[in-house]
């Protein structure tokens, strides 16, 4: 397989992902038994379903609905909520929820990036691996529950205070960073990649020449490290749904959960679109990084030929 094949597949997938995910949900919505409009207006509970279906673009089939929705989403219009906040624009909810999730994910990445860097530099003793593994066994829901209990006990009765919100974000981020083996994976995964690379002959020769392991191995392990980091960000995003609901952070995960419980396809479509767009962005970053690293590694070093001739 040519070296550019994998990044190219990732580039294509990154572009297609935000388009395909809403298409699949729309297709499944129409494949379900019953009329999609009956979710908004259940038979026997309200009148004028046909008029409602026409107004919401549900009367002309899935393709028409999808094309309308995706073209509007491209301009920032994510349609309207079906049941959760019936009739109100989903965009407003998205605007208020995305920053919370972004902050939570960023805070969760702090222990993960620290663990990765320290493991790459070899500064974390192997003895501590058992600690990471033991902490990593704890599921996010349990740790989030402990955080929620702590916040309730400490600030339960206070209103208009910024401290509980800050505690929710910081402790929620910490939960996401360590629960379900996230930190253990970051430390052990990074160490495993470097240990494997150090066995290579070029690193051994570089060491004999007095060079460092990191400077030599890093360009070659970088694609694997970037891939691992993308996996970890997705893992954190997955856990964010649980942490946001349990701890009470009004983020995108909470919005998706509420939309799911209320069968609000308008909200679910928008939330999954946001998640898939972010996931596509991560894929794009990975593909571009892989291409950049591959070009760097393949670049012929200057002066080698002259040295060989001499």
């Amino acid at each position: 397989m040519k070296w550019w094949m994998r990044p190219l597949v990732r580039l294509v997938a990154a572009i297609l992902l935000p388009l395909v995910v809403p298409a699949l949900i729309t297709g499944a919505l129409w494949a379900l038994p019953g009329d999609p409009a009956s979710i908004i207006c259940p038979p026997g509970a309200c009148d004028g379903r046909d008029a409602l279906a026409a107004r919401w673009g549900l009367d002309q089939g899935p393709l028409h609905f999808y094309l309308n929705w995706i073209s509007a989403a491209a301009t920032g219009d994510f349609g309207r909520s079906w049941t959760l906040m019936a009739g109100s624009p989903v965009y407003d909810e998205m605007v208020s929820s995305v920053p919370w999730t972004a902050l939570l994910v960023l805070l969760a990445l702090v222990p993960l990036v620290l663990g990765t860097v320290l493991a790459a530099l070899g500064w974390l003793p192997k003895v501590l691996d058992y600690v990471w593994q033991l902490v990593g066994i704890a599921p996010a829901v349990i740790l989030a529950l402990i955080v929620a209990a702590y916040i309730t006990i400490t600030w339960g009765a206070t209103f208009g205070d910024w401290r509980p919100d800050l505690a929710k974000l910081v402790l929620g981020g910490l939960v996401l960073g360590v629960a379900d083996g996230a930190l253990a994976g970051a430390v052990l995964g990074t160490r495993a990649v470097f240990e494997e690379e150090v066995k290579q002959r070029y690193v051994q020769i570089a060491l004999l020449r007095g060079e460092t392991v990191l400077a030599n191995a890093l360009p070659n392990v970088l694609p694997a490290m970037i891939g691992q980091m993308r996996g970890r960000v997705l893992h954190v995003l997955s856990g964010a749904v649980i942490v946001e609901v349990v701890v009470g952070i009004p983020g995108l995960g909470q919005l998706l959960w509420d939309g799911t419980m209320k069968q609000d396809f308008g909200v679910v479509l928008a939330a999954t679109f946001a998640f898939s767009a972010f996931s596509g962005l991560l894929m794009l970053v990975q593909a571009i990084s892989e291409i950049a690293v591959a070009l760097y590694v393949r670049r012929s070093p200057s002066g080698v030929l002259e040295e060989a001739v001499q």
Binding site: L17, P139, I142, S238, S279
Partner: protein, 287 residues
């Protein structure tokens, strides 16, 4: 203790815990006992302040909730919800990992590439988001843990397949198979014994056990979120109670309800599930 005995011990522990989980699921009552206010904890004014602790009242060895319902019945029902779907999800991931490892050894390039593409696609979205969308789209009659567990297993399989394929690759892939074939071994012996049993077993068993544990935790998380939202869970029927119910009861403990034993029980059940997965992992460790 020799390594072999050590592994045998962990295998026995893992099997015993898995057996206990399945037996508990089979022994679970269809409906829990009706509320019994004689079996609750009351303050000096006669108001209910929680449940009774361990072995306080006959017929409820693990205590009661604040309505006097025995907690062991909730624990048994929780086991019945997770036992079969979790085991099946674990087996599915093991099958995927085995397949990927064998494909790498068989040197079928197009299938190997197809499996990598499958991994890229299924691993592209956060798992919980996919699970929620699937839960939303499931018809009402299918709102049980099994379809969600299988979806989770499919989403978790790329990591398992990658690791199994990498292990097979480190063996030498097709060259390893050729070398054994030169010794006159049959294809079944080479693939099933030398490749899968002798070399891929640690990866396959660990990944299967981890997914089994993850499905149990996923059920607890989804049911807890549903309880917190005051909505029915999409992982089980309404007559059943998840282990999340015990966690939820335990959360009331911080409000000075007498339900500390529910916290202890729910944490113990989660610890036992984790121990089961770790036991299988240690039992299958490479020599």
């Amino acid at each position: 203790m020799s390594t072999q005995r050590f592994r045998a011990l962990w295998l026995a522990v893992g099997c015993a815990l898995l057996g206990a989980l399945i037996c508990a699921g089979m022994l679970a009552p269809e409906f829990v006992d009706p509320p019994n206010l004689d079996h609750v904890s009351k303050d000096e004014y006669g108001s209910t302040v929680g449940g009774l602790g361990f072995f306080v009242v006959e017929g409820a060895p693990l205590g009661t909730n604040e309505y006097g319902v025995p907690l062991h019945q909730l624990a048994l029902q929780g086991a019945s919800i997770v036992a079969f779907p979790a085991a099946l999800a674990g087996l599915l991931v093991m099958a995927f990992a085995t397949f990927a490892g064998l494909v790498r050894c068989a040197d079928v390039a197009w299938l190997d590439t197809a499996l990598q593409a499958f991994g890229e696609i299924t691993g592209a979205l956060p798992r919980m988001v996919v699970v929620l969308v699937v839960a939303l789209l499931l018809p009402y009659d299918w709102k049980y843990l099994l379809p969600i567990a299988l979806v989770w297993a499919v989403l978790a399989s790329p990591a398992a397949m990658d690791e199994a394929a990498a292990s097979a690759g480190r063996l030498g892939g097709a060259r390893f198979v050729e070398a054994l074939r030169a010794h006159g071994f049959s294809a079944i012996r080479i693939y099933l014994y030398h490749v899968v049993w002798m070399n891929l077993r640690p990866v396959i068993v660990r990944q299967g056990a981890e997914v089994m544990m993850q499905v149990v935790f996923l059920e607890i998380a989804l049911s807890y979120l549903a309880l917190a939202s005051n909505a029915p869970s999409f992982t089980h029927a309404e007559n059943l109670n998840s282990w999340a119910e015990l966690l939820y009861l335990g959360y009331s403990w911080i409000l000075d309800r007498h339900l500390g034993h529910a916290v202890f029980l729910s944490f113990a059940l989660i610890a036992v599930t984790a121990l089961m997965a770790q036991s299988f992992r240690l039992a299958a460790r490479a020599r």
